[in-house]
Symmetry: C2
Subunit: 352 residues, 2 copies
DNA sequence: CTGAAAGCGCTTACAG
DNA sequence: CTGAAAGCGCTTACAG
């Protein structure tokens, strides 16, 4: 029977409430509440009876009522500039798996640009959702959202390697991609390349002079007293890697290139192929991330394996601890990504 | 001041409510409700005053209270077996963009397997969210969720090409991938290949004998009186395409292969490379979807362009119409995917 | 261990 | 055009 003044959707019967369960079990709705919340002080027999009725009637607690009455919602929302690029998609998957295991709902909220209005809107939407927030701050839009998130909101962020030791209260999670970039560059230098060029993902303004991957690359070059070429700005996608990579491919001086991610590397490989330059005989290429396609390209891509899936899990785990236990969340570095050498890197050609 | 019995999170001040706005504006909270809901019968001066206070106080309606009182929630949840594979990720992106434009929140709910328990759990979680539901039924888990979704739930599904004309009330959206597969196969046959092998994505039980892509492939072969080889079961990923593709690569009889998606094609290309078979000189390969990397492989992949982004938008649009307008949603086919010929297909080698 | 009361922040008819 | 009342389905102290 539809409740007066509260029309439901067509055909949607009013679902069973805590009161229906209470009546059927012969207890107060209050006791039902205790049972579904795992409150310890309920007589076992009572609990059993209530649970039986819950199962029989197919009762499900109203998320809205629970949220309104308790001020809590078992949910997290992932705020990100993009959901499809490999790293972000894998991170999202990690969050979802961990959230599912903890019976948390997951929402996504994309921040389209770094415009103040877009950032504010995204933050408003994310806050409206009412749960915890995981922000992917790998790019400018995400970083701005992180910086402008209201205090008091339960929040954890996936970030680049911090440029300096972060404040103890920074709820940040990262893998040491700066160090990984340095090692990748050293690998190339060790192969006899005079220098290494860098095909860049977009950098955030916080890190003046490029992303932390760029910083690690520069560091290795400087330490080895190698020339530091101007980074070539690309983007995130194969198309952008190709477009920017053509310049590199046309320059006979480049013999080794570190790419900001594997999709960029894919585009560069194509540009090199079109230019008639062989990999790794003429040019060595290193990617970043170890996306699913990296191992199956021809030549198979030497790249740095990053466990975004784990980053996602950890972000959720820490947020969960913050929400349920009030455990303060500080900065947290995961294991350093590891260089996986495959076919796209080789010794520098002897000087002609 | 914390309300007795309703502790908020640490440091989270009680946010401004409709009553605070009402007091500040000198009206009843009821009138504020009318203003935020765009009710027409409000005096312009009153409306202006209320809106000014709303802006000044930074009022945001409580999602939970709104949902509880109205029985509606401006949200959709995407139910899918996977969020990272290209087609699904692009579809999700389309949904998110359309939802954002309509001020709807979007949740994701993954159904891990086709086990009855997993399907039921996913459906429960999706239903708890309270809004509309978009199910991606490209695989068995998704399909079962679709079949078992409770009646009365606002729902739209992205499906494979239906095997037969669907019932008028089926809220399905698809692109004609069966026909696209047929055309791709005909393209290969037209190049002089005796037959075309099929490297298969997983099929759903509903479509006995393989997915609709397989059906289209078989159709073309049959019409041309070509032999119909056994499809080679692979999966969705490059790794699976590679593993299954090795068998194809080792068989000198295969000169043309249609792949269920571009990732499979990528793996196959690698297997062919390792086996020393040239593409397209020795073997022609066609992918499916036109994922971002397809055009940048070497050889660039001939593939069938599918607009999953648009599928996502359309799914949301129809669901939105259903929720807000009660517009009934029937089956809906989008434009047929188009074959994009690039470098991975060529004339059959003349018989040795 | 269990129940009666009050309240979360909104919306919905119903009056006026 | 606007307000007073009731209710959405829960949870939270407070009694007992």
């Amino acid at each position: 029977m539809p409740v007066a003044g509260h029309p439901r959707g067509p055909g949607a019967p009013r679902s069973v409430s805590i009161r229906d369960v209470a009546n059927a079990a012969g207890v107060s709705h209050q006791t039902v509440s205790r049972v579904i919340n795992g409150h310890p002080r309920v007589r076992p027999a009572t609990r059993a009876r209530v649970e039986a009725v819950i199962a029989e009637l197919g009762f499900r607690r109203s998320v809205a009522a629970h949220a309104l009455a308790s001020g809590r919602t078992r949910s997290v929302t992932v705020l990100t500039a993009n959901t499809t690029h490999y790293g972000r998609a894998a991170l999202l998957r990690g969050v979802e798996e961990a959230a599912r295991a903890a019976s948390y709902a997951v929402g996504i909220c994309v921040v389209e640009s770094e415009e103040p209005r877009a950032v504010r809107d995204a933050l408003d939407r994310a806050t409206d959702a009412g749960g915890g927030l995981i922000v992917i701050a790998y790019d400018e839009p995400g970083l701005r959202a992180l910086e402008q998130a209201p205090a008091g909101l339960p929040l954890v962020a996936a970030v680049e390697t911090p440029a300096a030791a972060p404040p103890a209260a920074s709820p940040w999670v990262w893998t040491d991609d700066r160090r990984a970039a340095r090692e990748a560059t050293e690998h190339l230098l060790g192969l006899g390349h005079r220098t290494v060029h860098y095909l860049a993902i977009p950098s955030t303004t916080r890190s003046r002079g490029g992303s932390q991957r760029a910083a690690g690359w520069r560091e290795a070059l400087t330490r080895a007293s190698a020339a530091v070429p101007e980074p070539v700005a690309a983007g995130w996608t194969p198309a952008e890697g190709y477009a920017a990579g053509r310049r590199l491919a046309a320059d006979p001086g480049v013999t080794a290139v570190l790419c900001g991610n594997d999709d960029l590397a894919l585009g560069l490989l194509r540009a090199l192929h079109e230019a008639g330059r062989r990999v790794p005989e003429d040019v060595s290429v290193v990617g970043f991330d170890d996306a699913p396609h990296a191992a199956y390209l021809a030549p198979a891509l030497t790249t740095v394996r990053q466990d975004f899936h784990e980053v996602g899990r950890v972000c959720f785990g820490r947020l969960h601890g913050l929400i349920e236990g009030g455990a303060p969340v500080g900065p947290h570095a995961l294991a350093t990504p590891r260089l996986t050498v495959r076919e796209s890197t080789g010794p520098a050609a002897p000087p002609a």
